[in-house]
């Protein structure tokens, strides 16, 4: 058994606490949050220790890892404190507000040899894994265009008030919804090196953007679009997709299905001419505990396995997450 703790009990933190709590190889020893309401709930109904000060928690408990799920502005001091105490870290996305701080944490984790992972959970959805495999197998031939999109109904009325309405604290759609799409594009298709024609639009929010539209150029020279809007109530929940067009066809992929159109068959992949549709039922990663989607459990399983075996995580490292922050900076700079 390894010992873990959670810092920050908002939506993601509580979800992680349930998944870590149910994990057969983890003893979840402590939880930390600043809300006395949330903590008193745990005090009353569970046996887990609660803290309102993360430093005290890290000092008092013998931990193998922490999960950090606080608002983004707290990530830097918390990640740093944990790493300096030789504790492996799973941090929620987006990683850091400043990429210089991100660089520092990437180096610190590396020098300490600690497992580091960030919660870009889409990489644990089987369809996106399959998409990457197909692209690596070059079924589309030379690539000509891509589009990374996400839509959902987070802010559908005019109001503000929480840290999510403060751009400086990483509260807008760019840091939230769009960071997922950027990270997917970056790890599945290629790393963006330039943003052009960016539009950051406020629809209902004050002070932050609700939609992000940008043209991205990748290191390979391939170009494509980033289209993200979290004020779109025609979607029941967040819906993320990637479309890639190549000289030999096109693939459209989301969390539930992967649609492949080929001009010429690819026998090595048993893919014929025309449309082939594959479903998540064939690719879902098996998990022992399910909360909101296999991917949330699978990413924690991956992290726990890495901590146990002391092997660096191969998905969603600090370095990868920090690069997503680099792209976010490019987009902000381009929008000015």
């Amino acid at each position: 058994m390894i010992k873990g703790a959670i810092i920050g009990l908002g939506k993601m933190g509580i979800s992680h606490a349930a998944i870590v709590g149910a994990h057969p190889e983890v003893d979840m020893v402590a939880l930390c949050d600043t809300s006395s309401l949330v903590l008193s709930g745990f005090k009353k109904f569970s046996k887990v220790k609660t803290y309102s000060d993360y430093q005290k928690m890290i000092d008092n408990e013998e931990l193998d890892f922490v999960v950090i799920a606080t608002p983004t502005k707290f990530h830097y001091p918390m990640v740093k404190y944990a790493l300096e105490k030789n504790i492996n870290v799973f941090c929620e996305k987006p990683f850091m507000l400043k990429t210089s701080e991100g660089d520092e944490m990437v180096e610190l984790a590396k020098s300490k040899g600690l497992v580091n992972q960030v919660g870009f959970h889409n990489h644990f959805i089987g369809t996106f894994r399959e998409l990457k495999r197909l692209l690596d197998a070059k079924v589309l031939g030379d690539l000509v265009h891509f589009s990374g999109e996400a839509y959902g109904p987070v802010v559908t009325k005019e109001k503000g008030g929480t840290w999510r309405s403060n751009a400086e604290e990483g509260g807008g759609c760019l840091f939230d919804y769009a960071s997922h799409v950027i990270n997917l594009v970056q790890e599945i298709i290629g790393r963006p090196t330039k943003a052009r024609g960016t539009l950051l639009k406020s629809i209902y929010s004050k002070g932050v953007e609700d939609a992000v539209y940008s043209l991205l150029e990748l290191e390979s020279g391939l170009t494509g679009t980033l289209l993200v809007n979290w004020s779109d109530e025609t979607y029941r929940k967040m819906s993320t997709s990637l479309m890639i067009q190549g000289k030999n066809g096109k693939i459209i992929c989301d969390a539930t299905e992967i649609k492949i159109y080929l001009k010429e068959e690819v026998p090595a992949e048993k893919l014929g001419k025309g449309w082939t549709i594959k479903y998540i039922t064939d690719f879902a990663i098996p998990v022992d505990f399910y909360l909101r989607g296999e991917e949330y459990s699978a990413q924690i399983d991956h992290f726990v396995e890495s901590v146990k075996s002391k092997k660096m995580a191969s998905y969603n490292t600090f370095e990868q997450a920090n690069y997503t922050d680099v792209v976010i900076d490019m987009i902000i700079e381009n929008s000015k």
Partner: protein
């Protein structure tokens, strides 16, 4: 419980296999009359129970049922609460306290506000009861013999090990609504063990049960073992594994387990409703 329970995913654009299909559904069921039309078709096929989330639009369906009481004689609803996305989106935007403020009925929150957070923190169970009552309001006057909690909440409580909440929920639903508490879960074996340890005997547990093990956490073997050996009232859902299985092979598989009491399924066309219903009656 009846063998056939009619579900509502198709009405609310829930499709686990295709976002595109889910959008098409949302267009088709844009107005309440189209939902009621399909419900009526299911009734004509002899399905007398509608198992549905506490989605805002269900309130209109309830209103229709109450206004046509005679026509819906004997019709039952199994509410499943809460409709989680409404709360999840609110928590992302407003935080936990903001969400409580938004969804706890106004005057009641006023009562809380007097005592402030201190009062709230002492009385989570009261808060739970208020939220249950708020969700149940739309069903007043309708027969609701089984009341389910949704899997997101059940599995959250399970993972956080806040087991007493189950005991309190169980007692409250029995006492206040004179109904059987039901549990929807993606982790059936783990939930059964916890309910059993709490002394909740023979519980109604609704979980994914299908031939290919889709959304059966921990694997199909342990699910099959529990279906064969443990004492509970299983309701099978996701029996078609989001469409990966043909109805006949899917329902035939369920027939292997004597204990399964009911099958939950949703469909939008009369022919699909009839086909699945006939299969359930044949094999279960």
């Amino acid at each position: 419980m009846e063998k056939v329970l009619f579900g509502d995913n198709q009405f609310f654009a829930v499709n686990h296999l295709s976002d595109e299909k889910s959008r098409a559904q949302s267009i088709r069921f844009k107005d309440d009359a189209s939902i009621i039309r399909v419900l009526d078709q299911s009734r004509e096929e002899g399905i007398q129970t509608f198992m549905c989330t506490t989605h805002d639009r269900i309130a209109s369906v309830c209103k229709h049922i109450l206004e046509n009481k005679e026509a819906y004689e004997g019709y039952k609803i199994y509410p499943c609460m809460p409709y989680a996305h409404k709360y999840a989106n609110a928590v992302t935007e407003l935080g936990i306290m903001g969400t409580i403020k938004q969804y706890v009925p106004g005057n009641l929150f006023g009562t809380f506000a007097k005592g402030g957070v201190a009062f709230l923190s002492k009385d989570f169970l009261k808060l739970m009861q208020i939220l249950i009552d708020a969700e149940m309001k739309m069903f007043k006057g309708i027969d609701t013999p089984v009341i389910f909690i949704q899997n997101v909440i059940v599995d959250l409580i399970l993972g956080l090990k806040l087991y007493d909440v189950f005991a309190e929920y169980h007692a409250y639903v029995k006492k206040k609504y004179n109904a059987e508490p039901g549990y929807i879960t993606m982790n059936m074996p783990a939930l059964f063990d916890v309910l059993d340890s709490l002394g909740i005997k023979n519980p109604v547990i609704c979980s994914s049960i299908n031939k290919i093990g889709f959304r059966m956490s921990g694997g199909i073997e342990i699910y099959e073992k529990y279906l064969e050996e443990k004492e509970f009232r299983p309701v099978a859902m996701q029996v078609l594994a989001a469409g990966a299985l043909r109805p006949k092979e899917a329902i035939e598989y369920l027939g292997r387990f004597k204990r399964i009491e009911s099958v939950l399924f949703g469909a939008s066309s009369r022919s699909h409703i009839k086909e699945t219903k006939d299969l359930i009656l044949e094999y279960l």
